[in-house]
Symmetry: D3
Subunit: 242 residues, 6 copies
């Protein structure tokens, strides 16, 4: 283990305390409160017996996501997007990422002509909200699918693998895992990595905040992410088994 002086005091390859609380609210077919340290995201999965226009009559389902942040989830209050009358670019970018990531683990033909919408609402933010959202939405999705199976609506399991995500970055020259807000703000490079439980990459989004990153730094970050996601997948599995 590399010695690290990261602000959180964690080892460079140490996740925050991860919580995955199922059935957090009662109406949704899947409802999970996921926490990555102080980051807390409520992920609900809603099943609806219809698909968007471009899929109608094709015998396939759809999985999509929406993302929001309560105005005071952060240190200073942000305008409410509903009041401003539009979702910002960051919001749209994240919800598109969450949707694509979850679709990567679903056999949409096995789902049938249904839509599962994953609403990811950040109750409290401390960095890594999109990774927490993906990780929690996967569990909510499994619960919604379980609900469909319990009703006998579907026979074949449409979930074809697990999906989880983690952020990695370079803090004062050292690659570190699962950045909190303070670390994220101070990092030169920041990468969000979405992977499946087979070690395959679904999304890799790296951004140089300060100076550009070298290929060897990129390699080190990917390795850290591989380790982090495999731990998250184990935690998802445990939560679903309980």
């Amino acid at each position: 283990m590399t010695v690290s002086n990261r602000p959180s005091g964690r080892a460079h390859d140490e996740l925050r305390a991860i919580g995955i609380e199922r059935n957090y609210t009662r109406h949704a077919e899947g409802s999970v409160l996921v926490s990555f340290g102080d980051t807390r995201v409520l992920c609900t999965a809603s099943v609806e017996p219809r698909v968007p226009g471009f899929l109608r009559g094709k015998g396939e389902g759809w999985v999509t996501a929406e993302y929001g942040m309560l105005p005071r989830a952060t240190n200073t209050r942000n305008d409410r997007e509903a009041a401003r009358g539009k979702q910002g670019g960051r919001t749209l970018e994240i919800q598109r990422l969450v949707g694509r990531s979850l679709r990567a683990c679903v056999d949409r033909r096995a789902l049938g002509e249904r839509t599962i919408t994953l609403d990811c609402d950040v109750l409290q933010a401390d960095g890594g909200t999109r990774c927490a959202a993906i990780t929690g939405a996967y569990v909510a999705l499994c619960d919604a699918v379980g609900w469909l199976k319990a009703r006998g609506d579907i026979t074949r399991d449409p979930v074809i693998g697990a999906v989880a995500a983690v952020s990695v970055g370079i803090w004062q020259g050292t690659p570190v895992l699962d950045l909190d807000y303070r670390e994220d703000s101070g990092c030169d490079t920041d990468m969000n990595v979405v992977m499946n439980d087979g070690g395959g990459f679904i999304e890799v989004q790296g951004t140089a905040e300060g100076h550009a990153f070298r290929r060897d730094e990129l390699d080190a970050l990917l390795a850290l992410a591989e380790q982090g996601v495999s731990e998250l997948v184990a935690l998802q599995r445990a939560a679903l088994a309980s």
Copy 2:
């Protein structure tokens, strides 16, 4: 006590289990999770050192509210208002009501040129969300004012009385207190009553859903509300003392 066959099994004058959990999230100056049975609303109070244009330079503060409902707070998923690009009429109506109600207990001159915004976000809905929002927002407001006092920013207490709210309605001929969703849907008449701790009325909003209500029914509903609010004020006081 009148015998009642209300769906919830409660006595006609019985509140649901009320919860008031302070410091629910960590960033806001006041953060309260209020629950009226299965209705759960996160109320945060944010202090900002400025006032809207129409108050600038007048030496007075401002208290305002915004209201939102997570898309799957309800039994079937609602469109996200941020995605639709506007807040609906019901949302605007409720947040205007919450704002007016809280301003009724604040000496805005003692607050100084500051704005306190009360964000009331419904995590789970089961009837009475606006009443829960007002009741919880009051406690969040008190915490935000306590924060200002602790910093020495204000000397005189701007909170000049407590505010709480409850719904009442007529269920199959019987006036009942604190309607849950099933009762609300089945009621002929529905009234939301906002009062202060001195027994004064701040807002009375009654609507005949089925047939119009008689004056004696209105009187019975007001009496029930008076009792309910006085219990809520006691619970607020206990929460703030703990």
Copy 3:
């Protein structure tokens, strides 16, 4: 009669001069210019042979309302809502109230699969515009129903009672009826009361502007409103008979 020093010089229980002019414009199925003193609202009723999606195929009709104020209906010019790109909270609140109030006097099954839209546009404002709108819209609605009956489109009368509305408030300690703008601005408490011709309450919306109101004040206001509405219902009846 209580002595009153209200700005308008009226007795505490005295309505303003009320005018109800039918057939004010020629295209609408019902068109009424209602005036409560200097408040003038043009109420038109438009019949359309279709219903909103949620009612399609149910054999029921719909009654809805929209409200607007010309930019210079008031003392200082307000932004045009069409130019700003959205209706404000106050507008939405009022048009929801007008719609609910008018639906309360309609048997929607007798109306058949038709929508009647009540457009209430304020040409000149001097307080009480929402009450004038409800009172005038009722007459426009009757004229539109008369038009349907004259064509033989409906056989059973869908209007099952009259609806009218009036504002009441407490001016310097005295409950007064039908507030004009100056009185409204100076009142501690302001209440809008919608009732039917059987003395039943349809909507009661009271707001404490200054200090909270006591139960006995509320009782006095309701009594005044009962008297005012019964006078308005008589004037509606006279207008419809002419």
Copy 4:
């Protein structure tokens, strides 16, 4: 006089009955109800002691216009633009035309750093609303300027000539003046002409609805418009003198 079989029964060069009623509403600095037959437009002029950003500090005033149509001003109900959330292309086109036309008769330096907004709201439409709006707005503008003079706010008269407008078209081969809705719908060519009291053209907007129009037709239409505007200017003058 050419014989004409126009639907209205009017002679080919005959205006409809024109009404110009000043002080129609009481709050605006100028308020005129103008009628061209069954077309009725309420034109108010509002004075505000400020100018748009691009004129600030230049010692000049601004004159602008907004146009709206009540939803049921027409034979079938139109959506309310405020509810749809935007003004349509036709509305924007007309209000830009009205604004340009009125600015053509104002010495903006003599007006000083003030804005006069002309709100033209159509209460009832029967063709020619934009021409009626311009003709009525001119009178409302004069009244607003009179108000400024009476207060001693300005010394030099900023109104440097009269402006009026009329529509002309070709009905079954015959050029006709001041089209009502039925005539307008049946015309091959439709032209709106804005002129001043010196016989100068301010705007000419001709559109071939069916086949293109020849130069000699255009000439005949312009001659009719010249006559019609001179009659309208006389009526404006009479209204302002009364």
Copy 5:
């Protein structure tokens, strides 16, 4: 030829260098880059096998236009309309004009139930963009119709004449043809004239920028426009023949 000291150095009746480049982009059924001097507009024609709701099932086609200007087509950068969230009044006015003008040369019954959309996007602006757009869109429309004929989708030619447009104005007392930006800004009067190849007028839109224009000035402008359009029609014909 009248001597003219116009800024461009051109004779008073001289068009700018006109370019009509077909097949400028490869996806559209018609794609034309038209240039009037330094004004360059990309006009594409898109064929779609459907019509707007109000035409469905009537056996007629539709022709419509949209107009846009790249933010830096002009000397100083304009806000992007997509980012501001709405098209301005000038844009709507122009695209309505382009659509009406092109519909004037189309037999919509011969087109069948298809829509042809003409997108006119200004890459570089130097005055006269709407006239260039109409002139170029006509050629793009012909190419799209040629594409339909080549596929055998239509048998009868729906294009029933040519359409072109030019601006004229009065520069320091002299009527001049085809204004560039500098001339347009300095003109007292500005007129856009749309005509067909038979010498018929389709649209005439004249605006007095400074003082009103006399009838003889109007006549001189129309004569100049007639000459300019006939030259443009010849250039269109040549481009289509090549």
Copy 6:
């Protein structure tokens, strides 16, 4: 060189024909038409002597980007974003990426309190528009900076390295460089890589379209991108030298 059967017939590591045409339009401080094969993007750089609010008074400049696609840049017509009233998620995502990428090569202190806006408008699309936009915008940025230097507005060069971007993907098992639309649609994995001229990574955005990608595939893609970007940087240099 790996044998490749890619649709374009190019070698697996072969860029399309790249064009960089400076001074494409005349008003902007920098104006570049960049082409990657049939993809053509007009990139203009506009200099404005002000910065957004959050930077005011800090002595730093700002670089930002906007992205748009003409409605018929693609094979089937897309709705115009200005007409729909909002920019889509894809647009916002791309323009945020372009802005971040260009800021990575600018010393904002050396730029002074100025904003450079890079408008990237796609005239014709055939895959890789965001990479072409970044590559072209860099050249436009250099031209705008050259304009500032020529005027003597800045002394120190704020451009601290070159930036270019390319897409890579896995086509039927083979990693290939610079995907056109057909290849992009058929790829399992698609990655956009933004790098500087020192071989540093600025952005890496990889997405598994079909199945997840393995670490060795990711490595091969990054190597291809490194090669492609170094060729693009050489082409940028040549264009700037000409």
